[in-house]
Structure formats: C-alpha cells, structure tokens
Assembly symmetry: D3
Homo-oligomer: 307 residues x 6
C-alpha cells in the first residue's frame, strides 16, 4: 500500500516566466527512457516481482523503498513542468474567460509540444522531450536479482547524464531546482545500487562513481542539499518498513570522495519537503473552467461541511 | 510525497496452480485501457495538474487521495498476476537450478504472452491481456475540472465492466479475489466521481449506478467487503491530508440502493490490508538466481547488521 | 455501405497565407485522442459491434448515422489542414518545377511537423498536433450500450474543449471556420448522447451541457450555423435509413438553454454542404508531379472519353 | 461528405460455431498492414490531399470512389469478425445474465486475442491478427500522383496475397465468404490502379496481374461474384459524382485473361448488398447489458414515437 | 561500409518438425528488448555517434567490430526462426500450389503469432516473442563513453539471461544450436565490455561474470564452441580495420574462471561459418509463388548468362 | 555474415555550421517510412526469408547484395545527421567541460527534436524527421517473390521522392552531399528492381523511371557520381558472392535515357569510399566525457599495446 502527503520532496521556486519549451525539455526527465517514470516503473514492478523476499530482505527493502521515493520524483518533475507551462502566479482564476474570439493563445501553436496546451491546458503527461509516450519498453524486471540491480545501476548513471544535460538548457529557477535536487537524490540511488551489487559480487562498483565524471560541487543548485547531508541519506519512505536496507546503505559505508564526507545512514520516514505550488487557473484556457466562480463557491461550502 | 507500507490492500489466497493464461487475462486489469495503470495515471497526473487547488479543495482532495488508493490497486493486481504465473508456494528457491539442458520450460513457449516468462520470469509488467503496453494515450488531463471528472466517471464505469468480464474467465481463487475486491472499491470511485459532478452540476449522476446494471450481491467474492462496509468508505490514504473530500463523500450521502445501506464516510489513513505473498524463486528459471544460496547468506548477514 | 458526395459539409474560406504550424495545431482535431478520427472510429466500430440492433433501433440508428457525419468531419478537418499547409490559391501547377537546387523549401525544416512537408508534401495524415499517430487505444467499444454511450458523451465534451482551445490559437479564417462548424455539430452530438442516456437511465444528462461552460454565442464563427438552426438538427446521412433516432432526438426535446430556442428535429439525408477546395499543385514539391503538363493532357482526354 | 446505407456490400452466411481464433485471423484483413483499414486510410487521405483535382478528374475520381467502397470493406470484414466471435444466432438477449459466479467464460482466457472478449465483448477493433493497432505508418500520401498510385497498386497486390492466406486458414462459411468477396473486389482495385498508371506512363502494368499468380477460378467462394460480372465493374458509390473514372476503367479495356471475359464498366451508385447480421446480445457478457429487457421496452416505445 | 558473405556464423542443424510456437519463442532473441536487434542497434548507432574516434581507437574499434558480429547474430537468429516456421527440408517448391480451397492452413490460425504465417509466410520479422515491434526505445547512445559501455555491459548480461530462458523452452535442435552459439558469443561481448570499463575505471567488472551465475559447461550445445576456443576470441569482422581493440581484448587478459583457460586474442577477419539453409518454398502458401516453375526457369537462364 | 570497413561509401564535406533542424530533416531519410532503415530492413529480412534460394539465385543475390549496400546508406545518413548536429570541427575535446552552471546549451531546448541533444548528445537514432521511431510496420516480407519485389520497386520510387524533398530543405553541403549520393544509388536500386520484375513478368517497368519524373542532371550534387558511372554499377559488396545478379543487372541492359549512357555492370566488391568524419567531443555536453583527458591517455597506451 501507499500513502500520500500533500507536499513535494523539495521546495520549488516560482518560475519567472511562462516557458513551454523549457517545460518540454524538463519532460525528458519525466517520460524519457532515463526519466523518473522509468526509475519508478522499473523499481515498482521489480518490487512486485521480487522473489524470496524474506530471504533477501535488505535487497528487497532497498528496491521497495526507492520506489516510494521515485513516486515523489515523478511528482516533483511533474510540478516543475506544469509550473513552467503556467508561468508566474497571477490572478488568472478570477472572473470568467471573457472574449476568446481574438486568438488569445496564438503563440501556443508554435511551442514544441503543442498538445501540452491544446490537450492538457499546460499540464504535464508522461511523455519525453520529443512528446513520445513513456511505455513498457523502458521496464526491465527479469526476476534475477543481479541482472535487475545491474540494470538499475546503469539506469541511474544514465539518468544522471540526462539530468545534467537538461540542467544545461534551463535558465529558469524552477527547472534548475528540480534538476539540482534530482541530481543529489539520483546520485544516492546510483550509489545504493552500486553497494548492493558490491555486497553480492564483491566488485567495487562504487568506484565507478560519479558517472558522468563530474562532482556535484559544480552545480550550484545542489549545494544546499549536499550541505544538509542529503547525499548520505536514504529514507525508508515508510512508517515502519524497509529498515533492513541499512545493511547495504550504512553499515560503515561512507559518502563518495567527491561529496562532503560522512557515513551513510538510513532515515525512517521521509524528508521535510516543500509546499505544492498553486497552479492558478486561466479561465480563457478553460482551467479550471471558463467561469469558475460558481464552482469555487460550491467548493467553499463543501469544505466547510467537511470539517 | 508518497509513503509505502509493506502490505497489500487485501489478503490474497494462494493460487491452486500455475496458470499463465489466467495471469494474462488479469493483465487486462493492470495495463489495459480500463486497467489500474490507467486509473492511477489519470488521477495522478490530474492531481499534479490541478488548478486553483486551495479554492477547489474537496475536488482536489478527492482526486489526490484516490490516486494513492490506485497505487495499491496496481500493486494488488500485479501481485495477483505474478502469483498466477508462479503457482502455489513451494520450496523452489533451495539448491541451485540443476541441469537445465532438458527443456524444463517447454510449456512456456505455448502460453499466450510468452515474454512474461522469457523476459520477466513470470513477473508482471504494465501491459494489457494482449501484451500491448500501457501508455500516455490512456491519460486524459485537460485541466478543466468538469471534463476531467466526467472522464473519470466514465473510466470507472468502463473499468467495472472489464473487472466483471475478467472475473468471468477465472477459476483460481487468487484472481477472483483480486476482482472481488476491486469491484467493490472501483464502485466506490464511480460513486464518488458521480457525487462530485452532482455537486457541481446538479445532475444526479449517482442514479446512473451501478453500471453495468448488476449489483455486487451477485459476486460471492464481494460479500466480505460489502459486509464490512467497504463500499461506504473512502480512505484519505494520508496521515493528515485530503480530509476535505468529506464534503463530497459523506455529508448526508448514502450507499447506492443495491448495496447494504448506510452513510458514506471518509476514513483517515488506510485500510488494514493483508500480507504480501512470498514469491518463491525458481533457480532453474534464474529467479532470484541460478544458485541463490550464497546470496541468501549474504542477505542474512546484512539483515542482522541492519538491526 | 457508404456513399460519397464530392462536397464538404461546410464551405471553407481560402487561407490567407501558408501556415504549417496552424495546420499542425488543427491536426489535434483530426488525429488527437479527442479528434475526429476518434469520434469516427468509436462510433463506426460501435455500430459494427452493436448487439440486438432491431430491438434497440433508436440507439443503433443514432450511433450509425453520427458515424456517417463523422466521416465528413474527418474530411472537413483534413481539408482545413491541407489548405493551411498549402496556402492561398495560386498558379502553382503550371509549367515544371524548374531549378530545385537552391533549397527552395529551406523554411520547411523548421516547421513543427516537418514530415508533413517531407513525406506528405503538405498533405494531412491521421496524427495529433504532436505528430503522434491515431490508433486503436482511442477506441472504446465494449458492446455494453450504457458504457459505450457514456464514453461517447464524455468524448464529445472533451472534443468540445479541444476544439475551443485549437480555435484560440488560430488567426486564419480557414481553420477558424473548421472550428466554428465543428463546435456546433459536436455540441449536437454531445446533446444527442445525453438524451440517449436520459431515455435509458432517467438521469438528466442534458443539464450537464454545455461543457465546458461557455455558450456558442461567444464564438463568432458559430453564429451562421446557429442561425440556420444547425444546432437543432440531426441528419440521417442516409437515403432511407436511421430515421428511428427521432425517438431520441426530437420527440418533444428542445434546444439547450444557451442556444437559439426551438425543437430538435431529425432531417433525412444530408446538409447542403460546400465545395471542396482545389489544392493547387506545386511542381517544385513534386505535387502532383515535377512536370505535370503531360499528365494534365492525358487526364483531359480521359475525361472527354468518360462522358 | 459521406452517406450510409444500412446494408453490407455482400450477404454473409451465419457462422456455424463461435470461433474466436478464426475471428483473430480475419482481423489481419482489417487492421494489418495490408488490411482494409489500410486501403481505406490510404485512399481517403490521398483523396483529401489530391492536388489539381479538376485537371486530374479521372484519377481523382478513381481514388475518391474506391475510398467509399473501402469503407464498405472495412464494414464487411468487421461484421465477419464480430460474427465469428459471437457464433450462430441464438436467443441470447432474453432474460438477464443470471448467475455469473461460475466462470462462464473460462475458455475466453485461452483465445489468441483475449482482449477481444475482455474489452470488446467479442467486438471487432482495428487491430491485426497479432493484436497490433492499425496506425499512420500504414499510410502513404505523398501528393505525387505517380508515387501514390504505384503505392496503391502494390498495396492491392499485397492485400490479395493476405486475403488468400487468411482464406486458407478458415473453415467457417462466414469468414470464407468475406475472403471470396474481397478477393474479387480487391482484384478490381489492383486492375484499376494498373490501368491508371498505364494511362500515365504507358507501362502495361495490367499484364502484371494476377499477383499472386493464381486465378480466382480456384476459389469457390469467388464464383458467384465472377459470374455476375463483379470483376468488370467499378461503382461510383455516389449519387452523381466520380463518373470521370470511366476514362480509366472502361474506355475499351477488358477483363483480365484469367477471369470471365467482357468490357470494364463504371456503374453509378452502389451494388445491391446484403443484410447486416443481427448480433444477438449475451447478457452474461453484458452485451447489450446484463438485464436488457427494460432497455428493449424503452427502445420499442421510442421507435414507435419516431414514426 | 559493410560487406556480406553468404554464410551463417554457425552451422545450424535442420529442424525436425515445423514448430511455429518455438519460432515465436526464438523471436524474443531477435526483436525483444534484450535481443540481437537491440545489441546491433545499440552498437551500430554508438559507433556512428562515437566522438574523438582517433583518440579512443581501442574503444571505438571494439564497438564498431562487435556491430559487424551482431549483424551476423541477427542473421543467425532470423534463419533459426524461419527454419522453425518452415520445418524440415522437403520438395515443396515443385509443381503449383494445387487446390487451396480446403483450408490447407487451418492450424495456422491457432499459432501464437498468426501474422508470422498470414503476413510473412513463415518468415521472420524484428518483433519480440509477444509480437511487439523492435524500436528506438531499445537504443541507448548518449555519446558519453562510460555510460554507453556500462549500458552495453548490462545489455549483454540481460541478453545472456534471455538466451538461457529461451533455450529452456526449446526441444528442436535448430533453436537450441542458435542459443548455444549465441550464449558463447554473447558471453564474449559481456567480457569485452567489462574489460573496456576496467581499463577506464579500474573497477574489476570481469569478476561480475558470468551473470547469471551459471557456467556454460552446463549447456551441451555450447561445448563445441568452447572447445575450439570461441570464448577467447574476438574477430575484427573486417579485412583490415579495428585491430586496436587488441589493447582491451588480449594484452594479457585471460578466459573467465568457469570457461576453458587461455589467453584472449583478437582474430583478424571472421570465423569459418556454416551454410545458409535452403528454405524450401511452399507454393500453396505462395512462397516463392503459387506456380513457381516458370520463375525457376527464368532464373536458371539468367544465372547462366551471369557467368 | 557481414564484414565492416572503416569508411563511408562517399566522402562527406564538413558542415559549415551546427544546424540541428537540418539534421532533423535528414532524419527522415534514416528513420522515416521511406528512409534507409526501411530499405535495409526490408531487403535484409527478405534475404533471410528468401525461399528456394539456389533455384532463384539471381533474384536472391540482388536482394542480398543491396542489403549490404543499404547498411552503408544507413551509415552515411547517420554520419550526416551527427555531423550537422555537431557542427564544424573544433578543439572541443580538449580540457574538461568547465563551468556548466550558466545554461551553456539553452538554445537546445528550442530545436525541433530536443531529445537528440538531451538524450543523444547530438547523435543520430533511427527516428523520422518528426522523431517517431522506425519499426516493424515498415517491413514487407511476404515470401512471395513478385509481391516483395514490387514492394521494393515502390519503396525505392517513394524513397527517391523523399530524398528530393529533403534535399530541397538543406543549404549545408554535408546534408546535400548525402542526398546527392543517395539519389544516384537509390535510382540504381529502383532500376534494378524494375529489371528483376521485367525478367519475371515481361512488363517493362524500367519505362516507369525516373519517378518522380525529374532527371538527376538537375541535381548538381549528383553530377560527380553520374560522371564516374555510379548509376550503371551494382556492387556485390561481397568478397566472392552474389555475382549471379549480373543476369538481371547487365546482360545487355543499359542506363536509363535521362542518365549518361552505357551498359549496366556488376562490380565485385565495394566502391572506394571516403573517410569517416571525426566527431569532436564536447566535454561540457559530456561527450565523450566531462574530463576526457585521462581516458585519452589510457586509450593511447592501449593502442600502443595493440600493435
């Protein structure tokens, strides 16, 4: 089972301007082969398919707990995409959409992924930066623990490269923060899978890191997270399960040489997180509706009754 | 953010025999157009894209909380599929895989979705009963609240039909229990979206239910859940958020006429749930490995250290 | 069986300029999830799969007749797309294509869907505004009448939203006229499916309309059609079949409150329609050929002989 | 514009038994690369995209009229598939679905394309014999008349081969009749495109036929149609348009050597056709509903009012 | 550039019987995510995209040369699939196809991938064991040497697992020989990528092998190849290029512990290979034609003239 | 089996500037329906599936040898795409990637196929100009020789049209040279398939050429190849096989009327070819790595040892 908390894993700054092509670039980190839908999909189905769970608790717990974190990554990138499509906060959802006969969204026909406006009203969907759908071809779940973990290790290294490249195309603080946070957490996952494989095979895969060979101290947006030690922590993302992964993450293992030093630790529960951004509706784009005031009133009454 | 609890939403009986074609039928409820990946994907991305969240709290909360429940539905169906592919519990993961030169899995080349064995070792993936991948085409997230809720209402009615048909093909208790549980919970979601739309539009969509026009008292596997009142409950699936949906679900609304009577209530948190099944590995199929004993020993040591 | 008449359902004004990105936006109304290929595909296959046709004549007739209208909608949007790609009428198809070595179509490498030129020479194909193919995932045909009709109702509401958004991106009269006409006719279909479901279930789904909550009086391009009462008419699109749908559309039912008042009526046959636009060939783009004069002469002779 | 007539192009005999795998084989002729959705899709979009229509009337008319015939072919194969999935006529749609708890459709989990039952209740959808969706990749519409016609000629030859092979797998009269009829009509289309290209290029492509090199006199199910001269006729499938194709089909051209001799003629309008089969509903499969009697009564009343 | 030699990389025994489902299982090794189309596609495009080729000669050469070997693997599996679909050699291509009206291929409608007969006449295409198309989603080519090599290492380990599982389903000698040969050569590639990464990173990835943890001495069909030392050889598959990979493969490195001992060596050119099987045509299936004798005569004359 | 030679089939001039949208246009000739992946895929699988090879040697040899040439075409277009994405040669791969925090690739978020940078670092993949994946739907391999050859003839004519249109969008010499070379060689293949079909059927398909009806003397980039007689030559692309195709290509047949006159000849082996371009790495884009110097040193040592 899964529970949900109405917060993001990291606080995202508001975008400075509406930038649908930046949003489209960020989509690569959601629906691309090395995006968060892929890390989520791989670990989630591997955890469902995991054999001999009780005999392999530390390994099962690792994959199961990271699955929960990846849900939050999917949420974080998704919020980033929608925010970049939507632009800065405004008073949009007041009044009705007014006169729409003057082609108020003419510029939307030239954005790279026009369906993001036409179909989703600026919302996010699980597609890549080229608009191609995420799908089952991106999932490896063989049931063989070593093959699956090796796949995961490669996936996180590849994902790190994609995050770096997307970061290099973005000027807006929202998208850059998404990348900065995910670079730190993705590096943790690469490290964790390396250690898991080292325990089983004896091969020092952690020496392979960082891949690509750039330390996170080069990315300003990562520093806050490194300083608070995020790179040394794995959360169980669970009230009481998955603690056994401490046999892999922790247990004397330490941070990678290029990162601030310290021991690796498993933290029960989840990080503090940040607020979910209000996406202001734009009545002329029919979000949440052309004339939403009545709906707002109804909602206000229902909210009162719910207390 | 999301958290994970190492339990299923319902207790599943062990399968009586290995039945890959039954597993393939059950896949329709996972990766088909009206499967749980679709309900999850629709509600999850709608919740990310929701506009004017604070002004529309009851509606936002409803979609956001059901998202969390759908994650557990994906998990439940997935466990069912993997169990049916794997068969009854056994001592499979002892010893090594032995001599594999005698075509030990000859029968696997004739199962409907052979890749489920060849690629996934009996594991589940997000594909339909025909083996087609789940994908973004199954997602509607327009950002218009009425259109999205109407889509969801139609989706749950369609899903109910698919659950009924899959149920009609299954003899094994595992798959039937999956269907029984999901029929009850899916009916709740259809009811909830009907009420949400009724609040906004005044149209009594709840009178549309049940669709298809068969009451759940016809399905033996549903009775346990109806008797405990599951059809009258919506869980927040959250430690402390999403309570505002009580303005829609509750607030004087009652169970549908064909179901055991009573008021609708929002329950904070999640249901009790059942244990996740041990999927015993089959070394000759390389799950969790050809000769897993050493890995088991390593895991045992790591588990000790984790305490 | 189907017959064809060499006319469009509505007269389209010639485009003022070549605008491939506007054409690409309009593609959403052809090959997108809520485009005309989807309404066509859904109703056509539902009509093929309809059970107990003679016992359910009014419902069968409704779906069967609207199928024929949707063929004309596919044709109308397709003509609009090709016209916007082609631009205003000209003398293009005279002479040969001349010297093509100076990159005469350099600007075509920057249009959003470059294959529309490279592969289709400015022609239309069943893809979305993002260039993704229309496909079977967009079809729901369960054989259950209520589920199918509910799907159709939701589909038309969603399609109306998509038409509105595409309209908001277009400045050219060709594309705007396509949207204006389809908004009126699509609203008719939504209304018709609402009434069909009301007859079966008693639920007043027509009160749900219009969705989104904007009346067509806000769209200048709709006025002509509203004034001639198009919003109150369903055509049988047949020489002598499908009249039984008058039990649903008509039979005392009237126009929606936001539209010009009056009774709903079934009209045998089809509307007057408008001429199909000549798409002038561009020999340098090899349409209809590099040096088409000889082909024109042959065709002229064959036309004579055909008389 | 298109009109619809409530008849099939050919009379289909009722199936002798329910045979979902035969239905699945027949799907190749609907949704496969060389199926009727492809011939329809190619000619329909080519006719929309046709350049210099008035200067190339005979060629435009040919493609436009055959489009209308292909719609009927899609309908014919679709009816065949649904009939084979449904089985012989019966009293199925009486009463309600009864007790469904005994796995009444257990055998459906072993049919080749299980989703045809689970999702479509035995209905047809535009997929191939392997269940893969028809899509835009199957469409060629370049706007160059010679390339498009050559494509079409190859398409009809390939389609003829596929029809022959599907025929060779079927024992049921329904499916065999579909193949027999389509073999005759598809051969006409191959012949027509050969003649069109001969007019333009002078190359005697008609000597290429039949491809594959088997005459239709070898197929018993073709004889009825050959004897009535169907192989020498092209219908305009229009009340008054498309007659100019007589410059190509006719005009002194005669039947192919292996077929009954005679002149080629264009026939205005459409063939006589046969009745559309009643697909009896199966309430236990929720078609048209679980307990359809009330719906039948409502429909009967509405039908009366429609008169 | 590439050259072709009319031989297979290994001699395949003739199949004992026609077995389309075995052929379908073998398809996983062609068009599945971990099949030969994927190894080919990854290495081919990586070699095209390789940066700084002259500065990274040993690594570039390794990827470029293995690409050429993978072409032969695609050919080998493809021949195996077609042979299993076709069955033992026979006199099939004599005479014409005779009377085809008695459903001579009725059994073909029940094979798992019916399109393999209906569309391909028993031929092979790049699809998986579930009939899903190979596609670009299976390709990773980032341009980062470490990420690409790590991907390749993981790909070969996963491919080895898939080969083992397919092998376990096959009883026919043709398919088993394909697996036996590919297991040896695929293990070589895994070893080679491990060594390449070891040179760059110092991490002893070769100790990771074999993955899965089963030695090839357990597979009878591998012994012939192990005894001739195939596991210690990399071919340049080139008249004179790619020798620089000897810096990685060779250079003191030796066979893996579980394989027959010895030094690794680069061999210029290609292995001896075996004959390509005659696939006897079946005129009743229209391969190579319904009545091929005339074509055979024409071909015989043309062959004479070619000398 | 296949061998590889480290050269391109034609010498490509360096690009004058980085032009990702030109690269994207050129992708149509790689991964589009009428691109080189399609010609390769069709001929390769047809050659694998060829029936009665020894009895049909000239036809088999033709398809088999052209397959090998198409591999080189895939390589040529791929190099062109990567070169256009990369731009002129430079000193990029020296030093490390430096400070990447200033959005050094901001412009990459606006290119048409952003994933080409984000995922492939400017590399090529088998997708169309719209970014859609090449796939099995583009392959026809029926096993019927006439149908397959006719398909191939149509494919080459369609491919010629696509090459012409892509050429018309390009100003850069690299892309134009790719088109010029492929136009000559593709015209050879169209001619060869026309002759093969003429031998079998007697129909003078060569008179159909050129299609589209423009001679290559209109394309400056073709002249060099026409003058050296490339249009009259088919290479065996093999050390000693496939000579029998001389019965089709040669044997008294001559060049097409619009091309420089002369006899058709089969040439054993392959053309001289041109050098493969160095793609200079860009460390800030992580190609071949962020700080590649150490890797370069390692490679230099390994190269020495390889001698």
């Amino acid at each position: 089972m899964f529970m949900r908390v109405d917060q993001l894993q990291a606080e995202l700054p508001a975008p400075k301007r509406k930038d649908p092509n930046a949003a489209a670039a960020l989509q690569e980190l959601l629906g691309g082969k090395y995006g968060e839908m892929s890390t989520l999909g791989n670990y989630m189905f591997q955890s469902f398919n995991f054999r001999s769970k009780s005999k392999l608790k530390p390994f099962y717990s690792l994959v199961a707990a990271i699955t929960a974190e990846e849900l939050g990554h999917v949420e974080l990138v998704s919020n980033g995409v929608a925010m970049l499509n939507n632009g800065p906060d405004n008073d949009g959802d007041k009044g009705d959409g007014g006169d729409i006969s003057g082609a108020p969204f003419e510029d939307m026909k030239d954005i790279r992924l026009a369906a993001a406006f036409l179909s989703n009203g600026g919302g996010v969907t699980p597609v890549s930066s080229n608009g191609a759908s995420w799908n089952n071809d991106f999932i490896t779940t063989t049931g063989n623990v070593v093959v699956d973990l090796l796949h995961n290790f490669h996936l996180e290294c590849g994902a790190r490269l994609h995050k770096l490249r997307v970061y290099e195309t973005l000027t807006d603080p929202t998208g850059r923060e998404v990348c900065g946070y995910l670079l730190v957490r993705g590096s943790v996952h690469a490290h964790a899978y390396a250690l898991a494989l080292k325990k089983i095979t004896g091969v020092e895969l952690d020496k392979f890191l960082p891949t690509p060979n750039i330390n996170l101290d080069k990315i300003p947006e990562c520093q806050k997270y490194l300083q608070e030690g995020s790179h040394r922590r794995l959360y169980t993302f669970s009230p009481s399960d998955y603690k056994e992964m401490a046999g892999i993450w922790g247990n004397g293992e330490v941070a990678l040489p290029g990162d601030p030093p310290g021991e690796l630790t498993v933290v029960e529960g989840m990080p503090d997180g940040g607020k979910i951004h209000q996406l202001t509706g734009i009545p002329s784009a029919f979000t949440p509706d052309y004339a939403p005031e009545e709906m707002f009133e109804i909602a206000a009454k229902l909210t009162k009754k719910a207390r």
